[in-house]
Subunit: 693 residues, 2 copies
């Protein structure tokens, strides 16, 4: 699209020049007192040129916003329809609404809370139970030192600018993004070159440094929204909610930005609990907190959210997975690095192939990608709107071996909902260094192995004479040298006799002489290999998954009378907030008693349900529960038998009162399909039932 | 005990005087050069007195600490045994342990986390599902205005003192309590009067004001522990973790100290969701935060903890409960106000009687007390160590109608684990006032009713002339008068013609004349009664319940060989972190395959289990799982049949491989008892199995 847009921009600029030239001609003719027909001919030519220019403008307008805008409008309308239903039926509530709410904070209302519980229960079943993971539950309040080690205190920031007069804060990249989009879509006068530049800015937005971002903002003269006041230079704002632990004010703490750190710091105990064996996975479900500068995208970018994270610890030399064959034949949309950089689109790949061909780094990473795919699709995420996108080299942290995001397509575009990263040994090493506690695993050899080891022996007497009180620091620094460094020193000492050596605890260079240290290779017998495990981390944004699930489950259908559109959520029973409703067809004590008996059986069977004995028409009651995504409705229209209605087909079967609860339990728990039930019981005509809505 | 202690203190003081007097005699005799035999007789008498004094001291020591100390020692030893097992098996982990932890923050390790999940799942089943409650999930980050309205910003404090030199903070009441206990237990020289005073201080500790507490600390010369430095005066420290919402620093927020407020602010939406009908209950499970000054009592007083709270909204004029009859016949330990103040002990009362006799304020409160009793005992809390204690008048907030705590006896004494309070209309009124949003319910009348209403009509013209720009404030203040206030004004205006009136928005008194307002009674037809609902709030400290459950479930038994004591948790299957273990009796591929097949069946049945194929002796493997409270163990000792062992009886039955998983599922889910299973299958002699531990 960009190229046709560019040629239109060029054509428009040319036509504008032609219009100006012709207008000059007309003025010149008039000034020279040229004959009237000549002037009129020139004016006609000018008008024709203006018309041509207007036509190009129209085409350009269509090119920059037309198609995109068309679908944007329908996406927006769809989203509004979903959000209206979600809000009206209390799936979500703006938190603290009676106090006008707080941006980025939402409550789960009753049906939303039930969906959340169901999703988490299934997550626990699918991952923790089936994979025998070690689940832990750690506090959100976290002392500073932990998040210093993880890097969050220093690097978990967004760049912010301030309205210099009012002090209002904005995310710098958001303002620049808005500016570029606005220019590209609404300003038809910019040149093709400028348009290309703006598109380049949008593409590289995430890579811009603070200085670069500031330079762009100044270059484009971007000011504060609403006030148009000048903006400050961008500066980093830490996204963690800060607090203070205890009364002294001397122990800074933060609300955790992720749950993973609670697992890393417990590695040693968990490894022991697992019988000192690798691989094993630990898991945690919990709230995480990000103090967003100015939250947007409604339910997708919030300040407090539920994460479900897995840290799978594995020997870096063996990332095979015993159960990989169980997922190897899954096929789904993958978007590898190569396809992204070469401008191709995501394509369906068999997971086994992706691992075999090295597109996915290793089997364990591949296994989790497959399990995530199964998890999401079983919840009701549509496979055509789900893809696994590999991180580009510049997106990944330097230590990461490979990283894939499960992205779900919603009205906001493709949304990252699960990150699946092979983070290598980074996190455990960071905490080992900061805490001084070795977070390592050991592989015991069946027989001792002979290895060659570099041994560094500081000659303390010589060092004492030379460095007196600093001797200890020098000894420690020598002993802490890495193999490579020690080998270099050994070589240098042999050739030059002495070498400059930086001692970090002294903060200076000292001179080490040959007499002060012996560095030699020795053969040793080793009984085990000690190493820092790699960690493969699938991290689930539960709120985002649930929001996408709402969009994927939502549809509208006309009422029986055809006079209105009714909302339906086609949740699978696993996810549905309530599994079943129980309605007496008409208000009548006998029917009510039957309904209450069935309700008791459902409670005993652990099936969440709702009984509605209001006198509302049965059609309206069905519509109400369709809007909550309730898959089954039991209607009591006699004291001996009742009907069970399935939400999406609206088909109804007739069953004995006594068996109603058991049948609903079976179809709800997936032990029997509706098709099976449909073919086993007499059908009930729905004409009378749905007719009166 | 106090009275025998008192008489011993008096006897000791008398004897001390006698000793001193006799010592003086001896010195006098010696000084006067009395004959040797006289001096020796006097010295013998002195020694006899000293011996008598020592004997009284011994008795007194026994009286103040003896019996108490004896049981305290055994309680302490019991607690240590429980804690050791809990810590070794990772039920709990000190949070951020590799960084030396943070006082008052603990992780749930794998088995603890599973117990927590099970307790919460049962809570959801027992309360939310069975009572059709509306569950919500609200953020922890809460803006200041919400907690201003609830009173937490102003009143959620503990009194703190600081070491004036080091700045270390202490809870003032803890220091005073420690001082009194120490004096009473270790200082035998204090008089009976002083002892009585100290005991009085202990009894009234919770009622002391900041000034009174400070006076006591000064009076007793209490200094900082360890340093012995002087202490500051007590001052209130707010126990909420404070933070800042958004980047501006202008929106203070707190981590919620309870989950209840999230429900109160949503009352209007939830009432609508419930079809504008009362009663209904909303519920929330979530983390709450209290920045304790100096956490003690290990797992019982922590800075972040899981609460499960119910807010049951009810018409204040009708607190009956339709299902009360279902709990009316429960009998358990209750400790009403009267029994507490008259020095009696808790006694077993039938719940129906307690409500009928007005001991418990109303049926709904009684219903929840009964449901809480069932909840706790089904978890495994021992009924003999569970009591419901009514709050004394001075313990209850002024607005509360009645309040009962479910207290569980543990090694720390009786611990408040669930509070069940009738908070009347307090919370909804507080949020109505602060937010300006009416949080009320309405009872529609079947026919309109005629009522007499007081109508206040400010005469704006007169008020405008008199108060000009302040007219609006005066009008609002007049309209906001309560009925009583308006009636008083009406009377005063009629007698005196004018009246002083305080306008809070002007912060001053003004004079209202008769011409400025008309106050009259009018008859009106009303179609509904609008009122603020009462709220009955059962609030569960989940972590405390779990800790008490550990103590109630723990026991020791000798190993088969009798050479060591083994730890067992007798968790009911509902609570047990893992329901079943699967062991091949010996390491052998065939047995391992059978074990893996059974494991697959258990996974499919949703039964959490662990497979242990290590070569450890079967006895050791049983002991290991007993320590985790695993109720059942399947041992594979052939390829056709296996044994199932029950944890507490150690009884074993033999079943076919194919039916093992199904049987474990049935006994685990409570659909079949072990006794029933025991009588249906062949028994397996456990001699060979447990012998080799």
């Amino acid at each position: 699209m960009a190229s046709s847009e560019d040629s239109l921009r060029r054509a428009l600029a040319d036509k504008q020049s032609a219009v100006e030239a012709q207008a000059n001609s007309v003025r010149a003719l008039k000034a020279a007192g040229a004959p009237k027909p000549d002037v009129e001919t020139a004016i006609e030519a000018l008008n024709a040129l203006k018309l041509q220019k207007a036509s190009i403008e129209k085409d350009l307008q269509a090119a920059v916003t037309g198609a995109a805008d068309g679908s944007a409008v329908s996406r927006e309308a769809f989203r509004q329809a979903v959000l209206n239903t979600l809000e009206r039926r209390l799936f979500y509530i703006l938190s603290f609404k009676i106090y006008r709410g707080v941006a980025g904070l939402y409550d789960y209302g009753p049906p939303g809370c039930a969906v959340r519980s169901n999703v988490l229960a299934f997550w626990r079943q699918h991952f923790v139970l089936e994979e025998n993971m070690l689940e832990v539950h750690c506090p959100s309040v976290t002392p500073e030192i932990v998040l210093k080690a993880s890097g969050h205190v220093d690097k978990f920031t967004d760049l912010m600018v301030k309205d210099e007069k009012t002090g209002t804060c904005f995310r710098a990249d958001h303002l620049l993004k808005d500016f570029c989009n606005e220019k590209l879509q609404k300003d038809l006068t910019i040149s093709a070159e400028t348009a290309a530049e703006l598109r380049h800015v949008l593409a590289t937005l995430d890579d811009l440094s603070s200085d670069e971002l500031g330079a762009k903002i100044r270059k484009y003269g971007i000011t504060a929204p609403d006030t148009r006041n000048p903006l400050s230079d961008p500066y980093p704002f830490n996204l963690m909610f800060q607090t203070s632990i205890g009364p002294s004010g001397l122990s800074p703490g933060y609300m955790r930005p992720e749950t993973a750190q609670g697992i890393f710091v417990n590695f040693k105990d968990l490894y022991y609990y697992n019988g000192n064996k690798l691989p094993f996975a630990a898991a945690q479900i919990g709230e995480a907190f990000r103090n967003e500068i100015s939250p947007r995208q409604g339910l997708l970018r919030v300040r407090e959210f539920t994460l479900a994270e897995i840290e799978h610890f594995v020997d870096p030399e063996d990332k095979s997975h015993p159960k990989f064959s169980e997922v190897a034949n899954l096929e789904f949309l993958m978007f590898p690095r190569k396809e992204q950089t070469s401008g191709q689109s995501a394509k369906i790949i068999r997971l086994g192939e992706a691992v075999a061909e090295g597109i996915v780094n290793n089997e364990t990473l591949g296994y989790f990608i497959g399990r995530v795919y199964l998890f999401l699709t079983r919840l009701g995420i549509h496979e055509n709107h789900l893809r696994f996108r590999q991180h580009l080299a510049n997106e990944m942290a330097h230590y990461a071996a490979d990283c894939w995001d499960a992205e779900i397509e919603s009205s906001y575009g493709w949304i990252e909902c699960v990150g699946i990263a092979d983070r290598s040994a980074y996190d455990l090493r960071a905490h080992s260094e900061k805490s001084g506690v070795a977070l390592v695993a050991a592989e015991k050899f069946s027989e001792p192995r002979e290895v060659e080891k570099l041994v560094v022996i500081p000659v303390k007497k010589e060092l004492g004479l030379a460095f007196k009180g600093s001797q200890k620091n020098v000894v420690e620094a020598l002993e802490a040298m890495k193999e490579e460094e020690a080998l270099e020193m050994k070589a240098n000492l042999e050739t030059k006799g002495e070498v400059e050596f930086y001692v970090c605890t002294l903060e200076k260079n000292i001179t080490i002489k040959k007499s002060m240290v012996t560095i030699s290779k020795e053969k040793k017998k080793e009984h085990q290999r000690v190493f820092t495990p790699s960690v493969i981390e699938p991290s689930f944004g539960i709120g985002r998954i649930i929001y996408c699930l709402y969009e994927h489950s939502y549809y509208m259908r006309p009422s029986k009378a055809g006079d209105e559109q009714l909302n339906v959520f086609r949740f699978p029973p696993l996810v549905a907030p309530i599994k079943c409703t129980v309605f007496p067809l008409v208000q009548n004590q006998q029917y009510e008693n039957v309904a209450k008996d069935i309700s008791k059986s459902l409670t005993a069977a652990g099936i969440s349900h709702k009984i509605d004995i209001t006198g509302t028409s049965i059609g309206k009651r069905y519509a109400r529960t369709d809007e909550l995504g309730v898959p089954f409705a039991i209607t009591v229209d006699s004291t001996t038998s009742v009907t069970i209605r399935e939400r999406d087909s609206k088909d109804q079967i007739r069953v004995d009162v006594e068996e109603a609860a058991a049948i609903v339990k079976e179809v709800t728990e997936g032990r029997r399909t509706w098709e099976d039930v449909w073919s086993s019981f007499p059908h009930h005509s729905s004409v009378s039932a749905d007719a009166d809505d």
